[in-house]
């Protein structure tokens, strides 16, 4: 018992911080429908402000008050106003991508504003962090541990009082129960939701400030890792119960210390502790009821925003009818419906008339690059090609099925490691190693998919996030897989007499592999599977009812996607010569998803462009002075902001603008030619500027009815 206490009591302060995060997450999730993964970044921002102020000579308590009660809520209200308010009723992907983007961008922006990272070790708000003030039994309690626990007790007491005894507390409880009903009762739900953001941000800030003394220097990484514990706590609270989330966070904090205490030292203990959130998510996610998780506001809020229109693929009958024959619906799902044939390839991928020409030109340009581009640039381009394959795996999974994976980098890493290990230890040719790496990643994809794919939307995203974390901690450090910090070398391939070791042949090989990958994605999108997926998106219930095994279909696509990512990772490893696990951490997965979502998930072009953009960003971050690296993060943040306006992606936005312009001109010409050309100009874009998600009807008479 005494030993148990020895392990458990030091876990309480951690538990307190996890609990604060879990409660904050649940609060904003229920009040605004957004699961705020940027929570960890908010914690970092306040911790940074706290330490910076102290370095500037402020007393510790004043710095703490400013960081927690001014800066924290300020950031929260800003995010709510600029971003999260607009996506209240959007699809899970549209809700998730901005918060992921902010998770990466926000700390960098804060570092730019702060000017420099403070170089003093963060102190505790009160007392001396390291000094032992009292003992429970034989367990010593330091100033840090005491201040964390005491502050949490105070906050929880204040929260309870707020919810029980104040009018706004009552309103918040009501909004959490049902925003729509509360509004009907005359309460301004928007105001209450803003209040929830303030509260939640205070908790994020407090968690950041309280925990900062744990680290000798502030690093955003530490705070994003903490976030995962908060997420696990929120899941224990079933995304809806504040008290349960509180208890869950506490239990996780104590649990991880106890596990660390009792388990023998080594990989298992070191790995098991950080993967506790994964186990918790795996156990608790299915317990929480699906409809509760998916969207607390579904059916509550009217689907009014542009975001909703562009992502649900909804289009009113009248506008479509006005379009007569040829209609393009716009959304994440581009479907080209032509009025004469009846049966068409479902067209899960965007198709534009100019696409073939553009591809031919781009292909020639890239091939010509072999002759004039300097070799080190060619290497960079080649990295873009490898990542394009990884992005294609997201086009397939997220673009076509709407499922969100936050572990694509994990699959890519596994594919790369396996290719290298098989080449080095078994002596397989590297090309076969790449294929085997892809197959192994696909196999693992099936293993991940089987327990997680009963989930959808946010819970699935969180489950894949947890899996990525598990892989980071248990699989990648393993000597036989990622080989820890040492990484794995992956040789360049050769096929018989042909060696791909030199830059140019390898580039050609990469292009061939990319073409095959693109072909696979296209065939899947245009074939029976694409038609099934299209049906599932239309109505999962009906898809099941006509005999489609939706679950198996999803597992299949998930595995295919994992395999593609694995091949991409293997190619990237062979290009670089070696791979290190940190290049495939869960943060990388998040960045990959955000990049390809912003560029465009609905086409192969989107994946290729995303590959180019991502590689360019990487080069910019590594070669430019660190000040500019921050600028890249700012750009990233801005792109995230714009994403909420154009969730169809940058490429499709551009394409739609172009097509709208062409259609407008054609309509004008038709009107000039013959009077009464039909209601072609009456579409949503007929008046005023083109709505980003609107579509331009082609004039009646163009297609057969």
């Amino acid at each position: 018992m005494n030993q148990f206490l020895n392990y458990a009591v030091p876990g309480v302060p951690f538990g307190c911080v996890f609990a604060l995060m879990a409660v904050g997450l649940v609060l904003t999730y229920k009040a605004s429908g957004v699961f705020n993964l940027a929570f960890g970044a908010q914690a970092f921002v306040s911790a940074l402000a706290y330490v910076s102020l102290i370095q500037d000579g402020w007393p510790r308590w004043a710095a703490g008050v400013i960081a927690v009660l001014v800066i924290g809520p300020f950031v929260g209200v800003l995010l709510d106003r600029l971003l999260f308010r607009r996506i209240r009723t959007a699809s899970p992907l549209v809700k998730l991508v901005p918060s992921l983007g902010l998770l990466v961008a926000l700390p960098q922006v804060a570092l730019i504003i702060a000017g420099s990272t403070p170089d003093i070790p963060p102190p505790a708000i009160v007392g001396n962090a390291q000094e032992v003030y009292l003992h429970i039994g034989s367990v010593p309690l330091s100033g840090l541990e005491l201040s964390i626990s005491a502050s949490t007790v105070v906050v929880v007491a204040a929260l309870v009082a707020l919810f029980r005894f104040t009018p706004v507390g009552l309103e918040m409880r009501a909004v959490v129960e049902s925003p729509r009903m509360t509004e009907l009762a005359g309460v301004n739900a928007g105001r209450v939701s803003a209040f929830a953001w303030i509260l939640s941000s205070i908790m994020a800030a407090l968690a950041g400030v309280l925990l900062s003394p744990l680290y000798s220097q502030l690093d955003p990484q530490n705070f994003t890792v903490l976030l995962v514990w908060g997420v696990a706590g929120a899941v224990i609270g079933r995304f809806s119960s504040l008290p349960l989330a509180l208890v869950g966070g506490l239990a996780l904090g104590v649990g991880q210390q106890v596990i660390a205490g009792y388990m023998p030292a080594g990989v298992i203990a070191n790995g098991l502790r950080p993967s506790l959130p994964f186990l918790v998510l795996l156990v608790f996610l299915p317990l929480a009821r699906q409809h509760q998780l998916d969207d607390p506001l579904s059916g509550c809020d009217p689907p009014s925003s542009t975001v909703e229109r562009t992502t649900s693929g909804y289009h009113s009958a009248s506008t479509l009818a006005a379009a007569g024959g040829t209609v393009r619906s716009v959304g994440l799902w581009h479907q080209r419906l032509v009025g004469d044939g009846g049966i068409r390839a479902p067209g899960l991928l965007t198709r534009r008339p100019t696409a073939t020409l553009a591809w031919a030109v781009a292909g020639l340009a890239v091939l010509s690059a072999l002759t004039w581009v300097p070799p080190d640039w060619l290497l960079t381009m080649n990295q873009g090609v490898a990542f394009a394959i990884i992005f294609l795996s997201l086009t397939l999974l997220t673009g076509m099925t709407g499922q969100i994976s936050l572990c694509q980098a994990t699959f890519a890493g596994l594919g790369g490691f396996m290719a290298g290990q098989l080449a080095n230890n078994v002596g397989l040719p590297v090309v076969i190693g790449m294929v085997a790496g892809g197959l192994l990643a696909a196999l693992l994809g099936v293993l991940v998919a089987i327990p997680t794919l009963r989930l959808a939307g946010l819970p699935l995203a969180l489950a894949t996030l947890a899996f990525a974390l598990l892989a980071d901690n248990i699989l990648f450090p393993n000597r036989l897989i990622g080989n820890g910090a040492g990484g794995v070398t992956v040789p360049r391939p050769s096929a018989g007499p042909v060696s791909f070791a030199a830059t140019k042949p390898f580039f050609l090989l990469s292009l061939v592999i990319l073409s095959i990958a693109a072909g696979v994605v296209k065939l899947v999108g245009d074939g029976t599977i694409g038609r099934y997926l299209s049906a599932v998106r239309g109505s999962e219930l009906a898809a099941n009812s006509v005999g489609i095994d939706v679950y198996r279909l999803r597992v299949l696509v998930f595995a295919l996607s994992a395999g593609l990512a694995g091949v991409g990772g293997a190619l990237s490893g062979s290009l670089e010569g070696s791979l290190s696990p940190e290049a495939f951490s869960y943060q990388v997965s998040a960045v990959l998803l955000v990049v390809v979502a912003i560029v465009g998930l609905s086409s192969i072009t989107g994946a290729v462009v995303a590959g180019v953009v991502y590689t360019t960003l990487q080069v910019a971050v590594t070669t430019l002075p660190s000040r500019f690296a921050g600028l890249v993060a700012v750009l990233f943040g801005l792109a995230t902001l714009s994403y909420t306006r154009h969730p169809e992606g940058f490429l499709d936005y551009l394409g739609d603008r172009t097509q709208a312009a062409i259609a407008r001109r054609r309509a004008r010409r038709l009107r000039g030619d013959a009077l009464g050309a039909g209601p072609s100009g009456v579409g949503p874009s007929g008046a005023g500027p083109v709505a980003p998600g609107g579509f331009e009807p082609t004039p009646v008479g163009e297609g057969a009815g």
Binding site: L523, Y532, G547, D549
Partner: protein, 256 residues
């Protein structure tokens, strides 16, 4: 499994939600090629019964035997492939897909596996057989002219026909229609009755339908079940059941 040659035999189906008994030992059978109606006041448990038969809800008790096989533990898609087509009271269409694609998806799905290798070899094109069957059903429903239209652009009457057509793909043995006339005007309803007759004559498919429109019931149904408060109140020929005083009291109000 002996079911006396019946196509569908459900016995002792019981389903409770919390403390509410939605279905209380309901027993129902449908013969091959027979047309059976289920009527009853709102909240009688008609749709819940449908969901239990089709697998959307798991009954607390009871067995369902279809075509000689126990199906009460099967997932929905498997029951569908065995030969049950279903429509919904609140239509469930594949938004954005064309009329013809609706039928094609159902035809391909009814035949079984996801054909990933075939997809790669044939680029996912439908087979001539599948196309022919789609065209047959389009003709039967009078939807041939609308084949290429996205379903979102159809009026309610045609949309209901598309849903019916989708349920008819893959030559099912049983059609389960949940309020097929809901929202239709008299003309559309008459057309629906005609199409149902045609379909039954040409394919011999059995029909079980939940329906409020008594005119449609009288014209298309051989036998009737009346549900009230989760129990079978009466069963038998349409005229006989509808003249039953208990049924009149429960269904049409006590004064009738």
């Amino acid at each position: 499994m002996s079911t006396g040659g019946k196509l569908l035999v459900a016995s002792g189906i019981t389903k409770t939600f919390g403390g509410i008994v939605a279905l209380d030992h309901v027993t129902l059978d449908v013969g091959r090629g027979e047309s059976v109606g289920i009527v009853g006041p709102n909240g009688a448990g008609k749709t819940t019964l449908f969901n239990c038969l089709f697998g959307l809800e798991e009954p607390d008790e009871g067995t369902v035997v279809f075509d000689g096989r126990r199906i009460d533990r099967m997932p929905v898609w498997k029951r569908s492939r065995l030969g049950i087509g279903r429509t919904y009271q609140r239509m469930e269409l594949f938004e954005g897909m064309t009329v013809a694609d609706h039928l094609l998806v159902a035809e391909q799905a009814a035949s079984g596996t996801v054909r990933i290798w075939r997809d790669f070899l044939h680029r996912g094109g439908p087979s001539p057989d599948e196309l022919r069957h789609v065209e047959e059903v389009l003709d039967l429903l009078g939807l041939a002219d609308l084949a290429g239209r996205p379903v979102d652009t159809l009026d309610l009457g045609h949309a209901r026909l598309v849903e019916l057509g989708r349920a008819m793909m893959g030559t099912p043995l049983l059609l389960m229609l949940d309020e097929p006339s809901s929202g239709l005007d008299a003309e559309d309803t008459a057309r629906l009755a005609h199409i149902l007759d045609e379909t039954r004559r040409s394919t011999g498919v059995a029909v079980v339908m939940v329906e409020h429109d008594l005119a449609l019931v009288e014209s298309t149904v051989d036998r009737l079940y009346v549900l009230n408060f989760g129990k079978v109140l009466a069963t038998g020929g349409v005229d006989e059941v509808l003249s039953d005083p208990d049924v009149r009291r429960a269904y049409l109000g006590s004064t009738a």
